[in-house]
């Protein structure tokens, strides 16, 4: 792994950590005493700082360090989590994100970034000083409690004087003995010491070279170094320990706090491999102990040795002396657990470049087309073995397709969770208390769709918060709870995913919308509109009420853009609203943008694909029905009115020539095409019906977003796996077509835009309904 890779990993990991930090911050606001959450926030900051230190990103380390200090006070209960602190940390989180982004781009930190760092650092320090008195009070208490608990153990009998006296120094003392393999494991003791200098000052350092053997025995890749450091810092023990997190298993690190009992230093002296005198001198050289203190200590040591038969076992001393504080042990355990979990995770998850995945899907698209072609050839050949093999292959290709599409599926939860932040920020901005509820977070949809749905969804959420949910006084007057609730919900619905933005606000005001629409000339006074049509006026370009213009909506994205974005994804949006109760904006999107199960139909000489998920049933359109319809575009389907569209008329397709019998038998996809047309003898117009004695039409009943419509076609050709190819820009204006696909024969079939067609039918439906009803009654 070269440095770039490592740095890349750092960037990715940091981003994930920041995401979880943000999430935890948002949750901790609701439950300020949840230690797990506070620890999660601390860990995220801490890990980023640690990793940044390894890469020498001093600015990141310095900034994060301040954040970590405040978090540490929170963790130890000195600081209370409140809204302001969370708000500050959300900013810190954002800023860390931009620092990381800067690192990712390999840029130097610019002046603006540094300035922002300073601003936030000042605020963080402000938080600290506000609670410094509490912090200062806490520290000695801790020290004295450790003294109390260790006193009788450290100095078992007699000699208590020397052991219990406290050293005068204000500095920490750190002893380090590195294991042989540290260098081989890619760690350099020097980097740990450099790291210490990022949040404290090394007052004195003594490097122990005693362990370096003679040249002949020395392995140049082994580490033989030890250090005694006198260190001044405001950080606590856990923070110092954390500097050595990565080397815990490979080194003996002992940290003695300032003003520790002489007994503590004694144990340090006793424990380290060097002789007592030598180490004692080193401590004096470091300035950690004075000569007098050392003498007292050694005297106490001798007295203790003389009077007690049993020397203190090292382990007991360690624990009793609280060299390893319980929090550290806990942190170490947690770290181990994390490592295990990551290992488990590594086994079941791999990161894949999205481009590779796209390429894979594209290839599978080609494979499907090729497979369809083979299938067709096999059918034509009539060779049973080939048919068998082709059908097996077809099935496998289908399986491969499904699993490949599954690869792209991601849960929508992550996208939803981002809105916690949006809702929080916006509700503060506009001074409404709004809570976000999330359901259906585990609903899966295509990654591309997830990426593109973010913006429209943001706008809908903001719109609901801004215009939907009423101010508190209005809410109370209406007998609603003072806090508004915004709900994001997702579920699968007949081959599509529905995403709902639900608010319990005032609902859409029909009269006001209509008035605005009239004023802006979007509708004419004489137009009769259904409720649904009125509601949908808010999606019209240029529909913006005066009250709507504020800094939330003034982002250049109107509701019309929302609708356009969603339509670009082959989706649709509709509104359920009840005045005074609330509004539900429901977005429907196709699950995937690449490959669908299609239903192939023939109209004249052309083939069309209807997304299979939207097909409800197919019925025959008999002559009686046509006659009964009196030329109107609806029929009676088991007592229900079904509006229909004749694709032949819609797309202005010429009638297919009468199919040659054998050609028909050979082409299961209904390829009775232009091929034969020119060869046919001219037919007497009047006798044409003899050549085409039974002219049957079929109706494909489709369902979209609760609306049904019939598509009148000539032939039904069955299921067909469809690789969706987008239409070129030239055709983008064509209504009713959403793409094309290539059939096994190499022929092109157009994919019907069912949502568009249904909309077209449904818009007339309400007016047609009345007449249709009377017609049904007459029958």
């Amino acid at each position: 792994m070269n440095l770039d890779d490592a740095l890349n990993t750092f960037v990715i990991e940091s981003r994930e950590l920041l995401e979880s930090m943000e999430e935890a911050l948002l949750r901790v606001e609701q439950s300020p005493h949840d230690e797990d959450l506070i620890n999660a926030i601390f860990r995220a900051a801490h890990t980023i700082k640690g990793s940044a230190g390894l890469f020498g990103l001093d600015h990141v380390v310095a900034f994060t360090h301040n954040a970590e200090n405040v978090l540490d006070s929170v963790r130890s209960g000195e600081l209370e989590i409140d809204g302001d602190l969370v708000a500050l940390f959300l900013q810190v989180c954002d800023h860390m994100g931009s620092l990381v982004a800067n690192v990712a781009e390999g840029k130097e930190f610019g002046e603006d970034i540094r300035q922002r760092s300073d601003e936030l650092t000042a605020q963080l320090k402000g938080q600290m000083t506000a609670h410094q008195s509490a912090g200062a009070a806490g520290a000695p208490a801790e020290a004295s409690s450790s003294a109390a608990s260790s006193e009788h153990v450290a100095v078992p009998a007699g000699g208590g004087e020397g052991g219990a006296a406290h050293a005068e120094t204000d500095n920490w003392h750190i002893s380090m003995r590195f294991g042989k393999d540290v260098l081989k494991n890619g760690m350099d003791p020097a980097s740990f010491i450099r790291y210490l200098t990022t949040f404290g000052r090394i007052v004195n350092i003594v490097t122990l070279l005693d362990e370096i053997p003679r040249a002949a025995e020395m392995d140049p890749e082994d580490c033989y170094l030890g250090f005694e450091i006198s260190y001044r810092t405001d950080a606590d023990k856990a923070a110092i320990e954390s500097a050595f997190e990565f080397v815990q298993d490979d080194a003996r690190i002992r940290i003695v706090p300032p003003h520790s009992k002489i007994g503590d230093y004694l144990d340090l002296i006793r424990e380290m491999p060097e002789t007592e005198m030598r180490l004692g001198e080193i401590l004096v050289r470091c300035g950690t102990l004075t000569e007098n203190e050392l003498d007292a200590a050694l005297l106490a040591q001798q007295a203790a040795d003389a009077s007690s038969e049993a020397h203190q076992p090292l382990g007991t001393v360690l624990v009793a002396e609280q060299m390893v504080s319980p929090t550290v042990v806990q942190a170490a355990l947690q770290k181990q657990k994390q490592v295990k979990e990551t290992k488990g995770g590594d086994a079941s998850m791999i990161r894949v470049n999205a481009d590779k995945l796209d390429e894979h899907i594209n290839l599978i698209g080609e494979l499907i087309i090729a497979s369809a072609s083979i299938d067709l050839t096999a059918l034509k050949s009539g060779n049973p073995e080939l048919l068998e093999a082709a059908s097996v292959m077809k099935r496998l290709v289908e399986n491969v397709r499904d699993s490949a599409l599954q690869l792209r599926m991601v849960q929508i939860g992550a996208t939803f969770n981002k809105f916690q932040r949006v809702v929080r920020d916006v509700s503060r901005e506009i001074g409404k208390d709004i809570r976000l509820e999330i359901s259906g977070a585990e609903t899966e949809l295509d990654k591309t769709v997830v990426e593109k749905i973010g913006d429209p969804l943001t706008h809908l959420v903001r719109n609901s918060m801004d215009h939907g949910i009423e101010p508190v006084d209005v809410r109370l007057a209406r007998g609603k709870p003072p806090h508004g609730t915004l709900r994001l919900n997702a579920y699968h619905d007949s081959g599509a995913i529905a995403i709902e933005v639900i608010d319990d606000g005032g609902g859409l005001n029909k009269e006001r919308i209509l008035a605005k629409a009239l004023e802006r000339g979007l509708v004419k006074p004489e137009q009769m509109l259904s409720d649904d049509e009125i509601h949908k006026l808010i999606f019209e370009p240029g529909f913006s009420t005066a009250e709507q213009i504020n800094n939330l909506s003034g982002r250049g994205v109107g509701m019309d853009v929302v609708r356009r974005n969603i339509r670009d994804l082959r989706g649709s949006i509709d509104i359920d609203t009840e005045e005074g109760v609330g509004t539900t904006m429901r977005i429907r999107l196709p699950l995937t943008l690449a490959i669908i199960d299609g239903f192939l139909v023939g109209v004249g000489g052309s083939s069309f694909v209807v997304p299979l998920e939207m097909v409800v049933e197919c019925v025959e359109l008999s002559q009686e029905e046509i006659d009964a319809a009196h030329g109107r575009q609806h029929l009676n389907l088991r007592g229900e009115v079904l509006p229909f569209i004749r694709l032949k008329e819609l797309f202005d397709i010429a009638d297919a020539p009468p199919p040659a019998i054998d050609a028909d038998a050979d082409s299961p996809f209904g390829l009775q095409l232009e091929s034969g047309r020119d060869d046919l003898p001219p037919v007497d117009e009047e006798l044409a019906f003899l050549l085409q004695p039974v002219r049957r039409e079929n109706v494909v009943v489709v369902n979209y977003a609760g609306h049904r419509a019939g598509l009148v076609v000539d032939t039904l050709q069955g299921e067909y796996q469809t690789v969706i190819r987008p239409l070129g820009a030239v055709f983008s204006g064509i209504e009713g077509i959403s793409g094309f696909t290539i059939l096994g024969t190499g022929q092109v079939a157009l994919i019907l835009d069912v949502p568009g067609l249904v909309r077209r039918v449904a818009s007339k439906e309400s007016r047609v309904n009345a007449r249709a009803a009377s017609y049904v009654m007459r029958e």
Binding site: N204, I205, I212, A215, P220, E221, C223
Partner: protein
């Protein structure tokens, strides 16, 4: 990390170039010992002017070289320390040991 051993009396006996770290340590150790063994005078000079990077492994080799020299009653001397070398010596508080000048703006 390429290095040139000059057998004649001209100083230096060895120039260490580029990487003086764990990655080069295994290669450099025998070269350093060889330079000390071959030194015909009492003084063995090792030039550090072109060391671009040094870590604890490099530093250990420097210590080893001095001790090995002492064992052979030769004076192993490092000259023209590059910036990274001085920084590390300073960080480890070994200026006295190596007889190098303490850096200005030192942390201690």
């Amino acid at each position: 990390m390429a290095e040139a051993t000059s057998p004649d009396l001209a100083v230096p006996a060895l120039c260490i170039l580029g990487d003086f770290t764990i990655f080069a340590a295994a290669d450099l150790k025998p070269k350093i010992i060889e330079a000390i063994n071959q030194g015909e005078t009492d003084e063995v000079v090792i030039d550090l002017a072109d060391v671009s990077e040094i870590d604890s492994a490099g530093l250990q080799l420097m210590v080893m070289a001095m001790r090995e020299g002492a064992a052979q009653s030769k004076n192993v001397r490092f000259t023209r320390h590059s910036e990274p070398v001085l920084n590390l010596i300073d960080l480890f508080g070994l200026s006295g040991f190596f007889g190098t000048p303490a850096l200005a703006g030192s942390t201690h």
